[in-house]
Amino acid sequence: MAEINACSGNMTGVEIADALSKEFPEGLTITSFAPKRIYAQAGKEIFLDIVKFMKDELDFDHSSLVSGMDMGDRIQAIHHLTSYRNNCCLIEIVVDLDRDNPEIDSITPLYEGANYTERETYDMLGIVFKGHPNLKRIFLPEDTQFYPLRKDFKLKEGP
């Protein structure tokens, strides 16, 4: 069986990319796309509007992963959303954040499954998700003072 039934969708990646760039002519750049994959770069002001549009209009019903990346001069929040109805299409939305004050809107009110992954990203990189119901440390003890996946975090010197 090549494809399961739920994946026999009606919109291809190209059509979704067209709809997105028509709805958000400014602030959203589609960097590349393939039949089932879209890679986009978004501004942090319209990020929540984009996710709302993806969920309500384009049937993206699953937040696959919320993660982050420290690029040295800036911090990126990376969201992966997938859609079962649109041919299992996956979109990656990258948002550049200020390194000193990384703040982004939380998507937990839209996707409950993003709760723990957002907490993990906060734990490892220190990205603050505004509107998250319970933004606390999840893996490390609560009195930890550092963010271990940042590039300037140093392990203690060995012998």
Partner: protein, 185 residues
């Protein structure tokens, strides 16, 4: 508690500690305690080392070796090693895996919940010294930083044979410790 206790005026807690003290004094003064210790020690020691009950508590991948050693192929039960689920019924705490900073207080609490003749076995590199997570920001560098470890079993993970060998070493240690029924002196 006053020096001349009046049994009518004591509450139950005071009476318990006072009567325990009196019995202990009599046993010591008549040398009965030493005699009981000496008489009972071989039997006590034999039963201690042939009924080692480790706590059935898995931390990481070494717990699979623990499970394999309890299974029919290696079958530690023939040596009297039975895994129990409650720390109140156990006398060995088996550290099997890396100890994160969040699980450390829970482990210490489990150790303190176990009744008195108790031993700690560290199994695998992680619980001996941190192992692959040496210098990690979230892993305790060895179980002996907060627990009195008796036996170290190296390996990553150790084979079930190595685990059984460690338990046999612990049997030798219990025999050499030779603690009597009163667990003192």
């Amino acid at each position: 508690m006053n020096d001349n206790p009046n049994a009518v005026a004591m509450n139950s807690k005071d009476f318990m500690s006072w009567s325990t003290g009196v019995i202990d004094d009599i046993l010591r003064a008549t040398m009965a305690k030493k005699a009981i210790d000496k008489l009972m020690l071989p039997f006590w020691n034999w039963s201690q080392r042939n009924s080692m009950y480790p706590l059935h508590f898995g931390l990481a991948c070494c717990a699979l070796e623990m499970a394999a050693s309890a299974g029919p192929r290696w079958d530690t039960e023939r040596l009297g090693i039975i895994y129990r689920s409650s720390p109140r019924q156990c006398d060995i705490l088996l550290l099997n895996g890396w100890i994160s900073k969040k699980v450390r207080p829970a482990l210490r609490r489990l150790y303190e919940q176990m009744p008195a003749p108790k031993w700690v076995v560290a199994m695998g590199e992680c619980s001996i010294s941190g192992g692959p997570w040496y210098d990690c920001y979230n892993v305790v560098q060895g179980g002996d930083t907060f627990l009195p470890v008796d036996i170290y079993i190296p390996g990553c993970p150790p084979r079930p044979e190595a685990l059984i060998d460690g338990f046999l070493k612990l049997q030798k240690k219990i025999r050499a410790e030779a603690k009597g029924p009163f667990l003192e002196d």
